[in-house]
């Protein structure tokens, strides 16, 4: 495995609010050119971690380095290279989109070279005051603000929140293009399809602790496939459960739903002994894998890449 440059390094990060520990000693790294997903249930510590990266809040312990720069000590040098999208994009109602863009361009100190592309791509309205904007329209402005100065690192907190499915697709395409240009993207999300479509690795945080860090491809393998089959002859649930690779079997009316991991070959060979009326196979959604990490601490294992 080639050692790639680590662009984001979080080392034993802790954040407490009085007696409440929001983040408990998490460590992870993100490589250059990677789209890294950061998942967890509400209140898990995702936004807290991101805000520590930006020095909007200060860690209680631990360090964060981005592009080799200490995020707390040298934040001015670091923030020249970061684009940030907050979890909820709130902007002054009296400002127009254009005024907002001008203001933050000046604070960034850089010309927004990608502005016209982004406005065209996301069909962003910039002339009206923000108070007339819907959530989705504000989110689009937020995306423009994050990407417009062509930053090296993008830190995105729930970036597709409020976007319709077509814009989500557009956004995914944007992420993949930016990745192809060598950008590094750290994004938190509740939306599994975001993760499945664009992320190479994901970390799952729960109650302030890191539960797992895995490659999405390996998670897909773990999720396996879902097979729905109807038989013309009598087949028992136990018989199907005994087939190598079958993880779980449920019956719904006349159809059997099987969760299958690994090779499908034993399953197909078993089915060939019966009359198969209908069969449908699809990749099991990653959502169920993640939900296991969200809900069941006994089933979660610490793995690090």
């Amino acid at each position: 495995m080639t050692t790639q440059e680590q662009v984001i390094v979080i080392d034993k990060l802790e954040k407490s609010y009085g007696k409440i520990q929001a983040v408990r000693g998490i460590s992870m790294s993100v490589q250059r050119g990677e789209i890294f997903g950061f998942l967890g249930p509400n209140g898990a510590g995702k936004t807290t971690t991101i805000r520590c990266m930006l020095d909007v809040i200060r860690p209680s312990a631990g360090t964060i380095r981005v592009l080799g720069i200490d995020a707390q000590r040298d934040k001015l040098a670091l923030h020249k290279h970061i684009g940030y999208l907050p979890g909820e994009v709130r902007l002054p109602g009296t400002m127009t989109g254009k005024q907002v863009i001008d203001y933050f361009s000046r604070l960034q100190g850089l010309e927004p070279v990608l502005l016209n592309d982004l406005i065209a791509r996301f069909d962003v309205e910039v002339k009206r005051p923000m108070k007339g904007y819907s959530k989705g329209m504000r989110q689009k402005i937020g995306i423009v603000l994050a990407f417009m100065c062509d930053p090296e690192v993008l830190i995105l907190d729930e970036p597709t929140s409020g976007l319709d499915p077509l814009l989500q697709k557009t956004f995914h395409e944007l992420l993949l293009e930016e990745q192809a240009r060598g950008k590094t993207i750290f994004m938190s999300s509740h939306i599994m399809s975001d993760v499945e479509k664009v992320c190479q690795r994901v970390a799952v945080i729960r109650s302030g602790e890191l539960v797992t860090i895995e490659e999405v491809d390996k998670l897909r393998e773990k999720a396996g496939q879902r097979v729905i089959v109807e038989f013309g002859d009598t087949v028992t649930k136990e018989e199907l459960a005994a087939i190598p690779g079958v993880i779980d079997v449920t019956k719904n009316n006349r159809a059997y739903h099987l969760d299958v991991g690994g090779s499908m070959d034993p399953l197909i060979k078993s089915f060939s002994r019966h009359e198969v009326l209908r069969m449908q196979a699809e990749e099991a959604p990653l959502e169920e894998v993640f939900l296991k990490f969200y809900e069941e601490p006994e089933k979660a294992t610490m793995t690090k890449q």
Binding site: T47, R51, L54, D55, V56, I57, R58, K75, L76, A77, H79, K80, I82, Y84, P86, G87, E88, V89, R90, L91, P92, G93, T94, Y103, F104, S105, R106, L107, Q108, G109, L110, E111, P112, V113, L114, D117, A120, R121, D123, L145, C149, D150, I155, L166, T170, E173, L174, E177, E178, R181
Partner: protein, 283 residues
Amino acid sequence: MATTTISKNIPVPKKLSHGLSVTTRAITNSRTPLGIACFYGLLILLILAPIYPAMAQANFQAIINSGVFAAMLGGHITNFFNFSALLAVEVFSSIYGLLFGGFVAWIGGAVLPVTIEDGTLDLALSRPISRTRYYLESWFAVLIGTVIISLVLALGVWIDTFIVSNSGVDWPWMWLTLLVQWAFLFFAAGLGMFCGSFINASRAAGGTAVGIVVLGYLINTFGGLSNQFQWVLKISPFYYAPAIDPLINHHLTLWYPWVLVVAGLILGIAGLVVFNKRDFPAV
């Protein structure tokens, strides 16, 4: 919907000057209370000029001389029979500090928290601008507001001198009076900035700062009612901005306004320290 891909030939972004973007934004955010303060000041001054002849005929001297009234004004006016005395009562007494100081305290208190509420602080601090610069630019915006208020009042007095015949306004002492009162506004600005540095809600921060100004006014009023309470006067900021003295008596205790300036600086710097150290809530 137009769907385009990112252009392949993307130029390296040129640098843009920060300018005083935060200051400009802060003044824009404060335009309503600042406008109201200037409006009130101008309105009061423009009403005074036409009513002065009638007021000059009435005998208010006994009322002005009373201890209660003197306490409310923050000083004694021994000769009410000129326009400067009317200005002293209506505009440049302690009521000035309460009214205009209150507005400035509100503006100073709200200038930082409003950026938490409207979501711009998070986005700003994710950019290469230090918390110190952000705070100082915001403070500068409030101070610009204090200068605007002072200049508007000067404008109002100047207009009055055309309406009131033989107004007798002594302009060098008028400017000194405005400077003394500006020192009070400077203090109010620092007080507001301090409150806004740690209170997240703009109305709460502005209200707290105004409340402290009102408390100072009450201390100044009650302290002036009786010799027994003279000692409490010195803890009120109003004590150090006795504008009646330079305007009417042509007398100024030089170090008094400096107390307000130093106090304002201390409060402002304390606010900066707090602002630099604190965490900001998520929107």
